[in-house]
């Protein structure tokens, strides 16, 4: 009960955020949550079924590309993107199901599964990069190679090219289509992402309580014993992998709709490693871990990018100082050292010890809210004065 309460408090606090903050903050928080959903899918398959998948970003990227391709074709004809959201989910789940079928029904070992998902991501990266030519088109959606996906105008002269649409709903009975955007007028996109995060979190928690999750944890602990009790472990792994693939695909859809853009970097090694770092840092056995990890890493990398040695190297630095600063910057940016450090030192991530601390000092934990509330209203006042508030 305690954990549920803290989760719900967190979600309730996040509901209040856009009221006080600039659209920029809402945008940043939304992308942390999108990465959090991606990390949640990795937690599900890695933390609970013990299958390390480097391929969650592959399903994320495929979902994003599929949403983009269908959305671009739909938006000017039907003014909504229902089918694009559905299509993105189906494509991601289908890819996960195919790969999962071959991996788990072939009974290959877990290490091999990691390698195959890694190879899948890298091959998809090579594919997405090589689609720069004029012939790589689905309807009006151009893949665009490194430049990312966009909608092609009527001629080849870059006239009237357009971006991937945000999630747009136009149900029967609505006077006009409704776009889930984040700007000065509306925080609907933020609430969509927040709502999806909560739904996915609850779905994952429910899955783990259900038979599927309990068998998956059994497989993680001792696969032979679970199999000898009469469970078809291949099917349970396959099912969980497919569901995790669909969740990653949903994160990809939200990402493409949030940034109105997707490019091959989503399949890149850097993004794949970030996802693993989110989960490792947050803690792989806690469903909230991915969200915590994504927020910490996201905040730190964008914060560090602004301060002196990491953001801008002063022009008058000596070559050696410049070299050291450049090296330090790369170490922080590319998260290699973070990965090694966590693996060596901090096996469980930060969320379990944090929540233990909170549970132990429960009575005092509420005082933590005081600075948060002060900060919150301070932000409200500041953004009202600068006249950049959302509402």
């Amino acid at each position: 009960m305690k954990r549920i309460a803290s989760t719900e408090t967190l979600a309730a606090l996040l509901l209040l955020v856009p009221w006080a903050f600039k659209p920029y903050t809402a945008n940043v928080l939304a992308v942390y949550m999108i990465y959090g959903i991606l990390a949640l899918s990795l937690t599900l398959i890695w933390g609970y079924a013990g299958i390390m998948s480097f391929g969650q970003t592959a399903f994320f990227g495929i979902g994003a590309y599929a949403y983009g391709a269908i959305g671009l074709n739909l938006i000017n004809r039907t003014q909504q993107t229902h089918a694009a959201v559905l299509g993105g989910l189906v494509v991601a789940a289908f890819l996960a199901a195919v790969v999962g079928y071959f991996m788990f029904y072939g009974r290959i070992s877990d290490v091999y599964a990691s390698i195959i998902t890694l190879a899948l991501t890298l091959v998809l990266f090579a594919f997405a990069v090589s689609t720069g030519g004029d012939e790589w088109v689905i309807g009006v959606a151009r893949f665009g190679g490194f430049n990312g996906m966009f909608g092609q105008g009527e001629s080849s002269q870059n006239i009237a090219n357009f971006q991937i649409p945000p999630v747009t709903v136009w149900l029967p009975g609505m006077a006009q289509p409704f776009e889930f955007k984040i700007n000065r007028e509306s925080a609907a996109g933020y609430f969509l992402v927040l709502g999806m995060s909560v739904v996915m979190y609850l779905t994952a928690r429910w899955l783990l309580r259900a038979r599927l999750g309990r068998v998956a944890v059994g497989i993680r602990e001792n696969e032979a014993r679970v199999a000898s009790l009469g469970y078809d472990t291949r099917f349970y792994k396959f099912a969980l992998f497919t569901i995790a693939g669909a969740i990653a695909g949903l994160a990809g859809i939200l990402f493409a709709a949030w940034g109105r853009f997707v490019n091959p970097d989503r399949f890149g090694l850097g993004f794949a490693s970030s996802t693993v770092v989110y989960v490792l840092l947050g803690g792989r056995t806690s469903l909230l871990g991915g969200f915590v990890g994504a927020a910490i890493v996201g905040y730190l990398t964008s914060y560090l990018a602004e301060i002196a040695p990491f953001g801008t190297i002063p022009g008058d630095a000596t070559p050696w100082a410049r070299f050291l600063m450049e090296a330090g910057r790369r170490i922080v940016r590319e998260q290699g050292a973070v990965l090694v450090g966590i693996v060596l030192a901090l096996e469980d991530g930060v969320t379990p010890p944090l929540s233990r601390l909170l549970t132990r000092y429960r009575r005092w934990a509420w005082w933590l809210l005081l600075p948060a509330v002060v900060f919150y209203f301070g932000q409200r006042v500041a953004c009202l004065q600068a006249d950049v508030c959302l509402f």
Binding site: M52, V99, F102, M103, Y105, G106, R107, I108, D110, V111, Y112, S114, I115, I116, L118, A119, L120, L122, V123, A126, F127, S130, D134, E135, W136, V137, I138, G139, V140, R142, Q152, S155, S156, L269, G270, S273, V276, L280, F323, E326, A327, R330, I331, R333, E334, Q335, G336, A337, V338, L339, V340, G341, V343, L344, E347
Partner: protein
């Protein structure tokens, strides 16, 4: 198909197999002997190429000296990493994988800081020879010879030398080997160093024919891993057989166009079509798909399948 075309296709298949063997040999050694998935292997490859670059460009040594130097330098890097990081993680295969991934990102960053993120070429003197109407680079034949030499060297090393016997004993039963007086941590260290050195050698050999850039390892690591996984537990036989099967498929699909898909784009000469097959990229896709299908049939890899049959 005329005779010279057939000859060229055979040569290209041989070249594909050579590249896969070069990429996978060190990885297969580390994975087969130590059960470690070393994701930093691609960066060992890169380090080998950059050693050659440094030797040729900055120290003005002859190319072959640089190529001999590369495996030694990279073996040194490998041993250092084994001592500093991997040693602490034996018995935790997933954590080793993550740690080596971190090492790989670190190495990419480090090499970029030192050499910059630009593609550099290494000049070499060999020319082409004629096969009927086609000309074919002589250097590829050199590569095949070196790959065969490396495989033979690894075979002799593990079969006939005292080091090889101790290493195999360590792999088969570490506690027993340790009780018999073999320094097992040292054996693990040397085996890892050897695997790293082989990757360095591969990088050095391939440096003249590819662009030398800090992220080059990433381009090859997927194929190397697929080869090792399809090869299965027996290091040399597995690598050679899976490299042959996958190299055959890759070379054929890269060479021949299978079919075309017409699209609605605005191409400069109007018929807008995607050729499926006929480029290196589709060769890689075919390799991945073929490997996944093969693993469904032979989950232990090719050599595991043969071992079971016996």
């Amino acid at each position: 198909m005329s005779l010279d075309t057939a000859a060229i296709v055979v040569l290209e298949i041989l070249n594909s197999i050579t590249i896969l063997v070069l990429l996978a040999l060190g990885l297969a050694l580390i994975f087969g002997m130590m059960r470690i998935v070393n994701l930093a292997q691609g960066e060992f490859f890169t380090a080998g190429a950059f050693t050659v670059l440094t030797a040729v460009r900055f120290a003005h040594l002859p190319l072959w000296v640089g190529m001999l130097l590369a495996p030694l330098v990279v073996a040194g890097i490998g041993i250092a990493i084994e001592r500093l990081i991997i040693r602490r993680l034996y018995g935790r295969p997933l954590d080793v994988m993550l740690a080596t991934w971190g090492v790989s990102l670190l190495l990419i960053g480090l090499i970029t800081v030192i050499f910059g993120a630009v593609t550099q070429g290494i000049p070499f003197a060999l020319g082409n020879f004629q096969v009927g109407r086609y000309s074919y680079p002589e250097y590829r034949i050199v590569m095949t010879t070196v790959a065969a030499g490396l495989m033979l060297g690894v075979y002799v090393l593990f079969r006939y030398t005292a080091f090889g016997r101790r290493a195999r004993a360590t792999i088969a039963n570490p506690e027993m080997a340790s009780a018999a007086g073999i320094n097992t941590p040292r054996m693990f260290m040397l085996t890892f160093g050897l695997g790293a050195g082989l990757a360095g050698a591969a990088g050095a050999i391939m440096a003249p024919i590819v662009g030398v850039v800090p992220t080059m390892g990433v381009l090859y690591i997927a194929r190397a891993f697929i080869t090792v996984v399809v090869g299965g537990p027996v290091v040399l036989v597995g690598t050679l057989s899976s490299a042959s099967a996958l190299g055959f498929i890759e070379a054929l699909i890269s060479r021949f166009s299978l079919f075309q898909i017409e699209t609605a784009g605005h191409c400069a000469p109007p018929p807008c079509a995607i050729n499926i097959g006929g480029s290196a990229f589709f060769g890689q896709i075919a390799l991945l798909i073929f490997a996944i299908l093969l693993l469904r049939l032979l989950p232990q890899g090719i050599s595991g399948f043969w071992r079971q049959r016996r």
